[in-house]
Amino acid sequence: MPLIQSVSRRLLLLAVGALTLGSASPALAQQTLESVKQRGAVVCGASQGTAGFGLPDQNGVWRGLDVDTCRAIAVAVFGDKDKVRFVPLTGQQRLTALQTGEVDVLPRTTTWTLQRDANGVNFTVPNYYEYPGVLLRKDLGVKESKDLKGASVCVQTGSTTEVTVADMSKTYQLDLKPVVFDSVSSTRQAFFSGRCDALITDASALAAVRATQAKNPDDYVIIPANDKMEALTPAVRHGDDRWFDIVKWSFQALIMAEQLGITQANVEEKLKSDDPTVRRFLGIERGNGQALGLDEAWAYNIVKQLGNYGEIFERNVGKGSPLKLERGPNRLYRDGGLMFPLVFN
């Protein structure tokens, strides 16, 4: 149980992670694709359980937006969405785990920041745009975060949220009293017990908490913590450009599929399409697969097995899920969102 995992053990993990940097790894950086193929599975860093993004269901099958992002890579490489392994990581462990080669890719609600980018990881393309939110009891009557003067806020460590709280407190002169915990579950427990007035983290995660853990979800409201957006972005290690490309384009295939109107249901039909863009995308006209070092049918396989980005969104966090999140900034550029399809040539 991650809840009772002690901090010292976790620090030990960090220490071991730091030490594994000292062990010999024959040119590991350039060969992620080869080692993934040899292993027969893509290893993804996963959360410790965030509904909608990464959480095993009753049968132990991982589900979520981040999970499907990872599966898309497995489909691109192996043509099989189940050739994946998920390693649950705390916010603290995740970057070290990626840097030391514990995981091949980190799609784990990780915000793209300058410091992280410059220190050993490469961010691919955002798979979710997010704003930090504040979860509160409705009866407090708080309308915006400026009203939170003097409030106690529960925060989980190892996230950008800690900095958000500090900045928020300073900007609006709120004198917030943060209580910081190391695990997701302790943080939520402390909030629902009433130890804190507010719980601050990504708004989508708050929606998940409210939907799954509140006794009566209608008693709670979510308000934006500030006016800033964050881009949650899958990351890879520095130094392996080939792998960087594969991860980036595996996700791009999901966006492009939605742009082209290709869904899990109609992808067979689309194989007969005359549209050159569709034909190139699905690999009927060859070239894209070879350029990435993948099977020509890689993008076809992704849509066939997982659907397009819109389908993945609705299934995991949108209308088809308990979270019922709006697409908002995660709509396609065409529809007024930030998801931009790159050219598949």
């Binding site: 010292s8 840097q99 500090a166 520095h238």
Partner: protein, 383 residues
């Protein structure tokens, strides 16, 4: 040549050189690999990050801290918190441990029974579980801030912790410190004379109780004379939280109580072991001199038991310091929290872990030196 090999001294020297060489090679290999791997993965190395703004909050600390302070300051603040908790727990666990240890050897069945149950329960359950248990108890058991219990005027008990009035000193703090120093000095000199008097005559000086009682009166008079006054800052509920006063947070409370109870079971066993190690004859000797049990214990048994107690007690103190790293489980920001967050914010894992290990090593060595000094002081001196 063969003669040389059969020479025990030469062989020993050769083996040692070989062992040291092997170790040095291993270290060099590790360091080389680390450097190569770090460079390959484009991870910056160095301690430059210590001077940058930390930007993350620390919920409570002894040393003043703002998120705009540097990482170095944040680490210092974390160390301060760890030492604060460690120090308090070491003190409290030693006192409680002494009580438990003595109770275990008490002739009263209720005392020894209770102490046995306490020791068994505390020693045989994981500390993390105990901390979570106490924290759950505190957060479930207490009312929220708006329905806070108010047992005494100005004292509030709620989920936000215990809030008490804090003394606010008006006037010069220097004068306050100076007057305290003078009075303390006077008390010290008085005590020295009293001791000398007793060594000479076997009796305490007459009127010593009256003189002791005069000390606070004297202090109050000095303060009045220099114009110092102490007012109480009463906490009050304002908006979401209490404003003013001093707050003991549920996190710190849980950590102190949990660690103290857990550690005192171990300390109690060490003290019981030490007392058991002193021969029964010493007790009998004490009684035959007409000393009470309490006096026998204090003057004869404990000083001898201490020699057995101190070495294992020292290791127990190390354990307490190391166990404080569990603080984050209950939301108290100790040094390991600060380091872990620093690593997360900067990606400098090796440097962070190295700093943490260095700090803990430093603290442990300091305790070790102190305890060794004490151990030498109480060691049996043959005359």
């Amino acid at each position: 040549m063969r003669r040389l090999w059969y020479d025990a001294r030469v062989r020993a020297a050769l083996l040692q050189v070989a062992a040291i060489g092997l170790f040095a090679a291993l270290v060099a290999w590790l360091a080389g690999n680390t450097a190569t791997n770090l460079a390959q993965r484009g991870i910056a190395v160095g301690f430059d990050f210590l001077g940058r703004a930390a930007r993350f909050p620390i919920s409570e600390s002894l040393i003043a801290y703002e998120p705009t302070d540097t990482f170095a300051r944040a680490i210092l603040v974390g160390l301060g918190n760890t030492l604060f908790v460690g120090g308090l727990v070491i003190g409290a666990a030693t006192v409680l441990g002494l009580v438990v240890g003595l109770a275990r050897r008490s002739r009263h069945p209720l005392g020894s029974g209770l102490a046995t149950v306490f020791v068994d329960v505390m020693r045989n359950t994981p500390l993390v579980v105990q901390l979570l248990f106490w924290y759950a108890l505190v957060t479930i058991g207490l009312p929220n801030a708006r329905q806070a219990l108010n047992p005494l005027p100005g004292v509030f008990l709620s989920l936000r912790g215990v809030v008490i009035p804090s003394p606010q000193i008006e006037g010069s703090a220097v004068l306050l410190g100076l007057s305290l120093l003078v009075v303390l000095l006077a008390v010290g000199i008085g005590a020295w004379f009293a001791r000398r008097h007793r060594m000479r005559t076997g009796h305490g000086p007459r009127g010593r109780w009256l003189l002791t009682a005069l000390v606070p009166v004297l202090l109050a008079m000095i303060w009045w004379w220099v114009g110092l006054s102490v007012t109480l800052d009463l906490p009050r509920l304002q908006g979401f939280n209490f404003v003013g006063g001093l707050t003991l947070t549920p996190e710190l409370f849980t950590l102190l109580v949990g660690l103290t109870l857990y550690s005192s079971a171990f300390v109690g066993e060490i003290i019981r072991g030490g007392i058991d190690a002193v021969g029964q004859g010493q007790w009998e000797a004490g009684r035959s001199l007409g000393l009470s049990d309490a006096k026998t214990l204090r003057l004869i048994v404990l000083p001898q038991a201490l020699r057995v107690i101190i070495p294992p007690l020292t290791s127990q103190y190390f354990n307490i310091i190391k166990n404080t790293t569990l603080a984050l489980v209950v939301g108290y920001p100790d040094i390991s929290y600060v380091i872990a967050t620093t690593i997360n914010q900067t990606g400098q894992a090796i440097e962070g872990v190295a700093i943490l290990m260095g700090l803990f090593l430093g603290v442990s060595l300091a305790i070790s030196l102190l305890m060794n000094w004490y151990n030498r002081r109480i060691a049996l001196v043959t005359r």
